[in-house]
C-alpha cells in the first residue's frame, strides 16, 4: 500500500535548523532511505517554501 508521506516543517528557519536536520537524518536512515522524494516515499519540505508560492 503506497502513499506519499509529506513532512512539512513549519518551524521558521531562523529559529531551529536542528529540527530540519533531525527530520532529514530520520528520513534518510532505515528502510526509508532510498525513498526520499520518490513516489510512495518521504517528502521533507519547509513550510515557508510552500507558502511563498
Amino acid at each position: 500500500m503506497k502513499f506519499d508521506l509529506v513532512i512539512l516543517n513549519e518551524i521558521p528557519t531562523s529559529y531551529r535548523q536542528d529540527v530540519q536536520d533531525d527530520l532529514q537524518r530520520m528520513a534518510e536512515s532505515g528502510p526509508s532511505q532510498g525513498w526520499i522524494d520518490r513516489p510512495g516515499g518521504v517528502f521533507l519540505r519547509r513550510g515557508e517554501a510552500l507558502t511563498d508560492q
Binding site: 500500500m1 503506497k2 502513499f3 506519499d4 508521506l5 509529506v6 513532512i7 512539512l8 516543517n9 513549519e10 518551524i11 531551529r16 536542528d18 529540527v19 533531525d22 527530520l23 530520520m26 528520513a27 532505515g30 528502510p31 526509508s32 525513498w35 522524494d37 513516489p39 510512495g40 516515499g41 518521504v42 517528502f43 519540505r45 513550510g47 517554501a49 510552500l50 508560492q53
Partner: protein, 266 residues
C-alpha cells in the same frame, strides 16, 4: 500469471452442552475489480459493466468470473472445515453409538458446503447453508474460508481444490506468521504498532474524513498540478505531517515507520 489467495481461520464453536449443536455458516465476499477511486465515484457503472458470471462447481463452492476487460478474473470462495476432537469420556461413549458417528465435520463432508460470494456487489446465494455439527460436549470446530483469484478458470479450480484441504490453509498461516514476524523485527515495529499502522492505512485507502482537515479542504483552491513544483505527483494518496514544534519530530518519525510498514504490504 496473477494468482492470489486470502484465507481466514475461524474457531467457530465449542460445544459446552450435552446436546448436539448445529451452526449455520454464511460467508460473503465482495470483490471490487475497479480501482478504488472509480468504485467510490461511480459505483453503479462499475457494477453494471462488470458482467459477472457464475460457474457450477462440484463441491458447491462459489466460482465466478468478472471483469470489465479481458482477461476475465476468476474468483473462488472456499469453505473447508476441520474438527478438533477433545479426548473425553462423553466422546468415547458417543462414538460407539451409530447416531453420533462421525458427526463433527462440516456437515455432509463437502457436499453441503457452499458459500455466498458477491461479485461486484451482486450476491450469489444458495438455499442450502453449510452447517457445522458439534455432536457432543467438548468438541470444537474450526473452519477456514479462502478467497482465491486466478486469471483463468482452470487456475481458479486448482486453487479451490488446494484450499479444500484445511492443512493447506494452516500451513499458509504458519508461513505467513513467521514471515511477518521477521519482517516486523527488521522494521523495528511491534505487533501493536503494526495494528495501528494498518488502521491508519485503512483510513488512507478509504479517504476517511476523520483524518482530513475539513477546514483546509474548504480553503483549498489548488489543483494537483500545483503540487508538481514541490516534486509531489498527487497520483497516490498523500499523508501530510506538519511539524510545528521540535516535540513533534516524534510524530513524523512514527509516520516514517508507518510508511515503511505499509510499503511492505500490498
Amino acid at each position: 500469471m496473477c494468482q492470489k489467495t486470502t484465507s481466514r481461520f475461524a474457531r467457530i464453536g465449542h460445544n459446552h452442552s450435552r446436546v448436539i449443536r448445529e451452526l449455520e455458516l454464511t460467508s460473503y465476499a465482495e470483490v471490487v475489480l475497479a480501482q478504488q477511486g472509480a468504485d467510490l465515484a461511480h459505483r453503479c457503472s462499475a457494477i453494471f459493466l462488470s458482467r459477472p458470471r457464475a460457474f457450477p462447481t462440484q463441491r458447491r463452492d462459489v466460482l465466478a468470473a468478472a471483469s470489465r476487460h479481458e482477461p476475465r478474473l476468476h474468483v473462488g470462495h472456499v469453505l473447508a472445515g476441520a474438527a478438533d476432537w477433545r479426548p473425553c469420556r462423553i466422546r468415547d461413549r458417543s462414538r460407539k453409538s451409530s447416531s453420533a458417528a462421525a458427526h463433527t465435520s462440516v456437515a455432509g463432508g463437502h457436499d453441503d458446503v457452499d458459500a455466498a460470494v458477491g461479485i461486484e456487489r451482486r450476491r450469489a446465494r444458495s438455499d442450502r447453508k453449510p452447517r457445522v455439527r458439534l455432536a457432543f460436549r467438548g468438541v470444537t470446530a474450526r473452519v477456514s474460508f479462502a478467497t482465491v483469484v486466478a486469471e483463468n478458470e482452470d487456475g481458479c479450480r486448482a486453487l479451490i481444490e488446494k484450499y479444500h484441504d484445511p492443512q493447506v490453509s494452516a500451513r499458509a498461516f504458519a508461513l505467513a506468521s513467521t514471515h511477518s514476524e521477521i519482517e516486523l523485527r527488521h522494521l523495528g515495529v511491534s505487533r501493536d504498532d503494526e495494528a495501528r499502522f494498518q488502521r491508519l492505512a485503512a483510513r488512507v485507502i478509504y479517504a476517511d474524513p476523520r483524518l482530513r482537515s475539513a477546514d483546509a479542504i474548504m480553503r483549498n483552491i489548488g489543483t494537483p498540478p500545483d503540487l508538481w513544483k514541490f516534486g509531489i505527483s498527487g497520483d497516490i494518496p498523500i499523508v501530510l505531517v506538519t511539524v510545528g514544534d521540535a516535540a513533534e519530530v516524534g510524530v513524523a518519525q512514527e509516520m516514517v515507520r508507518a510508511r515503511n510498514t505499509c510499503a511492505r504490504r500490498e
